[in-house]
Symmetry: C2
Subunit: 221 residues, 2 copies
Amino acid sequence: MLLKIDTAGSRPTDGHLAELAGERVCWSEFKYRRGTELFGEGEEADYVYEIISGAVRTYKLLSDGRRQINSFHLPGDVFGIENRAIHRFSAEAVVATKVRIAKRRSLLERMQCEKAGATSVLDFVTQNLHHAENHMLLLGRKTALERVAAFLLEIDERLAHPNVMDLPMNRRDIADYLGLTLETVSRALSTLRDDEMLRFEGTTHRQLVLLDRKRLAAQDV
Amino acid sequence: MLLKIDTAGSRPTDGHLAELAGERVCWSEFKYRRGTELFGEGEEADYVYEIISGAVRTYKLLSDGRRQINSFHLPGDVFGIENRAIHRFSAEAVVATKVRIAKRRSLLERMQCEKAGATSVLDFVTQNLHHAENHMLLLGRKTALERVAAFLLEIDERLAHPNVMDLPMNRRDIADYLGLTLETVSRALSTLRDDEMLRFEGTTHRQLVLLDRKRLAAQDV
DNA sequence: CGCGGAGTTGATGATCTTCAAACATGGTGG
DNA sequence: CCACCATGTTTGAAGATCATCAACTCCGCG
């Protein structure tokens, strides 16, 4: 929360890469070290972010420190588009992360002028809402095992079903995403391993191989 | 899910719906009996709804019947605006409910043509997202008592702090909204009553009086 | 080498769920 | 008008799931 933004190595570019917004939104690149804050809840929403590499968690806190992670953002994801001028949650780099940043106002203005642009911002927010609705179902009504299975399948999907899945986040992050404790997440993963639905690759237990996506999906409901 | 839409007492207006993307968005009124379905998950999203009286729950189901209610809609609320053509959840009347309905396409087209309109659809979806983010925090990280207190304050707020709060929904609905069981909700309400934060009015236990909103807010965190 | 961060696993315990029973309410039909 | 029944609510007792507390391992790194 109190960490400073780490702009070491920032490298403004002459961004043509705004597929989302049409032509002339100017993007620049920034790097964040592991654990540093991109923005905090309540801060002004000045920028829109696109992840180049790494991973970002967005979350809310209760006053006593309990944390709920809304979502993980992986390379290719765009986030930070807020309709209001104030961020409703905080964002931190899960690992060393490189992002492209654009001024939010200029982007939104451009997008709202054009009909196609307006649709795509709306699409974007709608996608977030869709994800949130599914996640409410998970948080409100699924068991620990179902949650962890759903998490694995979600990440697997977003990484395009790699042979070896490389988790950028630790067990506590996963737990705070799934509304569990890190021990429960660890136990669920061990159970899935014992049931031969996954296997750990290497020593770190951050790389894993999904052995049976069908049965994993059946854990979920 | 399998309930038929109840159009008893529907009052089809004389063909105004046939007006296409004309100048007026044409609303017509419908009534739904308690428990009837306005639309189901996966159905085409043809209409936008505004509640005149009554209440609506929107929810998702797991295959074994577990239910998560996303939100309750009360008089004045507009819902059913979906960016995609398919509803992502079901909607049912909690009690006898009167709504105004407009063709979704004509409405969206109108709203997207005008800059102000585009902003207001976006605002609308953003508000839903905001609510969903807060609700994920509740579902993932709050205790039963905190959830119930938060629920009471939310309804209180949306009813503009009435002296006597009239709950349209039963304990099971509340439970499925808060990710609890109906018994746990009942117990939490009894606890809050015993601690003199609320009082039941009348006999039904659906009307209640918040006696100390400050302390209720402190239950929440 | 020692240290800290991360993960696993075990024992215990708290919270919430499940199962069950009792009671109130409101509507319906005899 | 009352009996009757479905629906809704509360409360109790027992049980399951998950959280908490704690110990231990493994790894990377100064």
